[in-house]
């Protein structure tokens, strides 16, 4: 373990404090005067978060051979054994970096909802803080708190500055996720209680790092509890039959919020399945693999087919998200390191691409005053800069080589091929459909007869916005061209999560090792243990 200064909680504290400060103008009578100051302040705060995150990662990986793992642990509620335990490793780092970059870009983007003032920046910053908390927490109760918390800023932004049916849409979103997550809440309590009995100390055991040392849950327990977890995360991702909130939410939310939600909230579900569900319910995940693969593949094709028929721009983006995230679900279905790594990579890549698409189409919609494709056409000549960025992002969405999506989807297909050849073939069909609707959307927007009276070249992207999109495009291409380092970091962390499941019921080396150390259980893990684990994993892998 690398202890670092500043501590990990700084990553949550900086945006949270900055966000609360941004709320202050809300209480004064003149709200709009503070907005511009708040923007600079918010850019500074989220930029600082990004810098701190990068500095931590650099420091942690600077020593050769060390396992990338930074932790911060302290007791939160001793009576229940709830710990404030944060962990930044190869699994949470990609998601954390996605969160910080997307938040920074959404803040820097000029498309703040017309009626929003300083509160807009508060909502993004508070959203960033809570999503980062969810990505870093390893204690289940702490995770649950952040998991619920991250809904509120998004819902507030949506209900304040969304479209005409914003209240219904936000209520629907809230109820979907609440019903999904309360059962997980009960399951968490059950697991904590069982942990208390097994570890024999006075508080519950909610920390995944100590839960992973316990003997496995029995299979019926795994089924009952695991399904609660999977349903909660399935709603969040969203996975195929649980996506009822998706289109309404993205249609009614302001563009920035839609980008934030699409890029980040669902990723918590994917992250949590690898972080919590695989280690806690290995047998369930092994036997439910075909079902998950089916859900993923059906989601890919179903989402693509729905996207093909949409005339509303944001509905198309919503269903294309469903389709692309189906790949992540497919990748989560098998214990193959390749597929899981691909799933993480695809999730991060989808975050960048879809945020870009929401922002670009948002800009186009604002310019044209249209929300469906029938009102668009022939824009390529009028707004060439926008057209260029939309081109690159569309190519990335289609997953052509040299973009990050290609790497993700390729790895997932490679990894799943051995376990689920049938579903993988169907998924590949979805790729073709994806190309059709994405490129059709591009054609309908950029070519054909012009339908607007806005003069040439006016209201094209301005400097700041172009910079935002350039950053997104640069990240997408960089990840597509040089995925190697990122993949190795992700893979080493992911393999730790599933190696217990891969050991096929035999006691896995690392669980056995962790169990030996469990008597001297501390909330964190010491450096030696982790290096040992890593060595064990390498041995198993080779």
């Amino acid at each position: 373990m690398t202890t670092a200064w500043p501590p990990l909680s700084a990553l949550i504290a900086i945006p949270a404090c900055a966000g609360i400060l941004c709320l202050l103008p809300w209480f004064s009578r003149e709200r709009d005067t503070g907005a511009r100051m708040c923007k600079l302040w918010a850019i500074f705060a989220s930029g600082l978060t990004l810098v701190v995150l990068l500095a931590m990662a650099t420091a942690a990986t600077s020593q050769p051979g060390s396992y990338f793992n930074i932790e911060e642990a302290r007791m939160w509620i001793p009576s229940w054994g709830v710990a404030f335990h944060l962990k930044l490793d190869g699994l949470s780092f990609p998601f954390a970096i996605l969160t910080t970059i997307i938040s920074l870009l959404v803040i820097a983007w000029s498309g703040r909802p017309a009626t929003a003032g300083a509160g807009w920046y508060a909502s993004v910053l508070l959203g960033e803080a809570s999503v980062l908390g969810a990505f870093l927490a390893t204690d289940l109760v702490l995770f649950y708190v952040f998991y619920e918390l991250m809904l509120l800023p998004v819902l507030a932004a949506m209900a304040l500055w969304g479209g005409a049916r914003r209240l219904q849409a936000s209520l629907k979103f809230l109820l979907y996720t609440m019903v999904g997550s309360v059962l997980m809440f009960v399951a968490i309590l059950y697991i904590g209680y069982r942990g208390m009995n097994l570890l024999g100390h006075h508080g519950f055991a909610f920390d995944i790092s100590s839960l992973a040392t316990l003997p496995r849950l029995s299979f019926p327990e795994q089924v009952a509890l695991g399904i609660c977890f999977l349903v909660a995360f399935g709603v969040k991702i969203p996975a195929f039959p649980l996506h009822g909130w998706l289109a309404d939410t993205y249609r009614e939310a302001p563009h920035g919020t839609a980008a934030f939600t699409a890029a980040l909230l669902g990723k918590v579900g994917i992250y949590a399945i690898i972080r919590f569900v695989w280690p806690l319910f290995p047998d369930l995940m092994q036997s439910a693999g075909p079902i998950l693969a089916a859900i993923g593949s059906i989601g890919i094709v179903y989402g693509a087919l729905l996207a093909l028929t949409q005339r509303d721009i944001r509905s198309l983006l919503a269903y294309s998200s469903l389709s692309h995230l189906g790949f992540c679900v497919l990748g989560l279905a098998s214990a193959s390191e390749l597929a899981l790594t691909g799933s993480v990579f695809q999730a991060v890549s989808h975050g960048f691409v879809t945020a870009g698409l929401f922002l670009v189409f948002g800009a186009i919609m604002d310019r044209e005053g249209a929300t469906d494709f029938d009102g668009l056409g022939g824009l390529a000549k009028k707004i060439p800069v926008t057209a260029f960025f939309l081109m690159v992002l569309s190519i990335a969405a289609v997953a052509l080589p040299l973009t990050s999506s290609f790497v993700g989807e390729f790895l997932i297909i490679m990894g799943s091929w051995r376990s689920f050849p049938g579903w993988t073939v169907i998924a590949m069909g979805g790729v073709v459909l994806g190309a059709v609707y994405t490129l059709t959307a591009y054609l309908r927007t950029m070519f054909g007869p012009a339908k607007d009276a806005v003069p040439l070249r006016r209201a094209d992207l301005r400097g700041g916005d172009a910079l935002v999109l350039a950053t997104l495009v640069a990240v997408v291409v960089a990840l597509g061209v040089f995925p190697g380092r990122a993949l190795s970091v992700i893979e080493s962390a992911v393999s730790l999560q599933v190696e217990d499941a891969r050991s096929d019921g035999r006691a896995s080396p690392s669980r056995e090792f962790l169990r030996q150390g469990a008597h001297a259980r501390s909330v964190g893990c010491d450096e030696g243990r982790y290096q040992h684990c890593h060595a064990v994993v390498n041995r198993v892998g080779s």
Binding site: I77, A156, M178, V179, V182, V186, Y193
Partner: protein, 472 residues
């Protein structure tokens, strides 16, 4: 400690309340009357904290244990905050008889403390009557309002019925055991049908006072019709006293009776939370919504009592939840009271974020807390404790129903924050809030957040209290 000291909080309140009856002009002034009430309550609370003793004492019909001390403190804090928060709204409600109002308030609190400290059934009954009689009058304090009179009448009639049940149950208990002491020692004496009858009647009597479904029919009308300042007081103090009484009874022979130890009380808990939430979903009036929500919340609290027979420390969960609930309900009704008697419908809260940012934020925190959503973590932590004690007692069905209920409840709780922040007002003016109310409501809001962020102190206190009841 001399004999007088164990009576101290009750004595302070009952003697102090007499001061209001002197009828001097000074005391008729609102500020002085309210300040005197607040001081009396604070002194009572201070005495209750001062009742520190190494061993619990039971004498003169009162039992001074860490449980009763904690409950007394909670009731006094709730009453203190509600008196300060609602003082300025008495004028808006049209209550001019200040000295009588505070005389009745203090008497009612005094009765509640007697219920909390009671160690035998007769004292308990006296407490119930003192608290209730004063409240019957308070509910009708808005003499010009028909609703208020109706509430008073309704509460009185149903209250009498429940008191009769309680008294009859006590008589049956005496017939079965030959004693009035609330204790488990005489459990061995009687197991017959008389005990069962007694238990059921006493349970019904107390369930009426708590407002548990299916004995909740008075709750919405009384909560809505009474002056909001009275509702604020009642929603906390009566609930604390009645739940404390039920906890105490669970430690008596009844706690070991077949009905309780078989855990069939979980049905009552489940019915209360489901009925309360389903009814609250359909309410347009905020007060009625909160009234039905209090039925549902009482159902959650019953979880801890229902599974107490399994010996998993669940009473502590109920106590913890009760404390967090008091902060939320006093706050929520306090905000309504500050806004004046005309505010009833959810629509009346529209645009509150502009009319008074402070009240808007406070109200949102209270409602998120009731819904169990962050950042008001107190509600969530209370649910963690209750649900996990149900799981520890292997009542999985109860835990799942309770969890689904809390998801269902979100659907109506969020309507209030939505109205406050996301719906424009139609030109209503700014709400002025007195300084005392700001302080009191801010204290509640801070409590709702801090009880959840740093619950350890309260958890330890709740566990100690539960241990004192002997059912930990």
């Amino acid at each position: 400690m001399n004999a007088l000291a164990s009576f101290a909080p009750i004595l302070v309140l009952s003697l102090g309340s007499l001061g209001y009856l002197l009828g001097t002009k000074t005391i008729e002034k609102l500020r002085i009357g309210a300040a005197l009430a607040a001081i009396l309550i604070a002194v009572a609370a201070w005495f209750s904290v001062g009742l520190v003793e190494s061993a619990p004492v039971v004498r003169y019909g009162l039992s001074i244990t860490s449980f009763s001390k904690l409950m007394c403190l909670v009731a006094c804090c709730g009453a203190f905050v509600s008196v300060i928060a609602t003082a300025s709204s008495l004028e808006k409600e049209g209550i001019t008889t200040v000295s009588e109002y505070y005389y009745l308030t203090i008497s009612s609190l005094c009765g509640a403390l007697i219920m909390i400290f009671a160690s035998d059934f007769l004292t308990l009954f006296i407490g119930v009557e003192v608290a209730s009689l004063a409240l019957y009058c308070l509910c009708g304090a808005r003499v010009t309002s028909r609703r208020s009179s109706e509430a008073s009448m309704k509460y009185f009639l149903l209250g009498c019925f429940s008191s009769a049940c309680l008294l009859y149950g006590i008589a049956a208990w005496y017939g079965a055991t030959g004693s009035l002491v609330i204790a488990k020692s005489n459990a061995l004496i009687a197991h017959g049908p008389l005990m069962a009858l007694s238990f059921i009647l006493i349970l019904v009597g107390i369930a009426f006072k708590i407002g548990l479904a299916p004995f909740h029919f008075w709750v919405p009308d009384v909560y809505q019709g009474s002056p909001t300042s009275v509702t604020t007081f009642m929603s906390c103090v009566v609930k604390v006293a009645a739940v404390a009484a039920l906890v105490k009874i669970s430690s008596s022979a009844f706690g070991y009776s077949e009905i309780w130890s078989s855990g069939s009380l979980w049905i009552l808990s489940m019915v209360a939370m489901t009925v309360g939430n389903l009814a609250a979903l359909q309410q347009k009036s905020v007060k009625r919504m909160l009234a039905y929500s209090s039925v549902a919340q009482a159902g959650y609290m019953m979880i801890g009592l229902a599974v107490a027979g399994q010996g998993t420390g669940s009473i502590a969960a109920t106590i913890f939840y009760l404390m967090t609930y008091c902060a939320m309900t006093v706050g929520a009704f306090g905000v309504l009271s500050v806004m004046g008697p005309d505010v009833d419908d959810v629509q009346d809260l529209r645009g509150l974020s502009k009319r008074s940012p402070f009240l808007a934020l406070a109200m949102t925190l209270f409602f998120l807390g009731l819904a169990g959503l962050p950042p008001s973590l107190a509600g969530l932590m209370g649910k963690v404790y209750l649900f996990s004690s149900a799981i520890a007692a292997k009542y999985y069905g109860l835990a799942i129903v309770a969890a689904l209920n809390s998801a269902l409840a979100c659907a109506y709780y969020v309507r209030v924050p939505i109205a406050i922040y996301f719906q424009p007002s139609d030109g209503a003016s700014r709400v002025t809030v007195s300084r005392g109310a700001v302080l009191a409501l801010a204290a509640c809001a801070v409590a709702v957040v801090v009880f959840g962020l740093l619950p350890e102190t309260l958890l330890v206190a709740a566990r100690e209290a539960a241990a004192a009841v002997g059912r930990s």
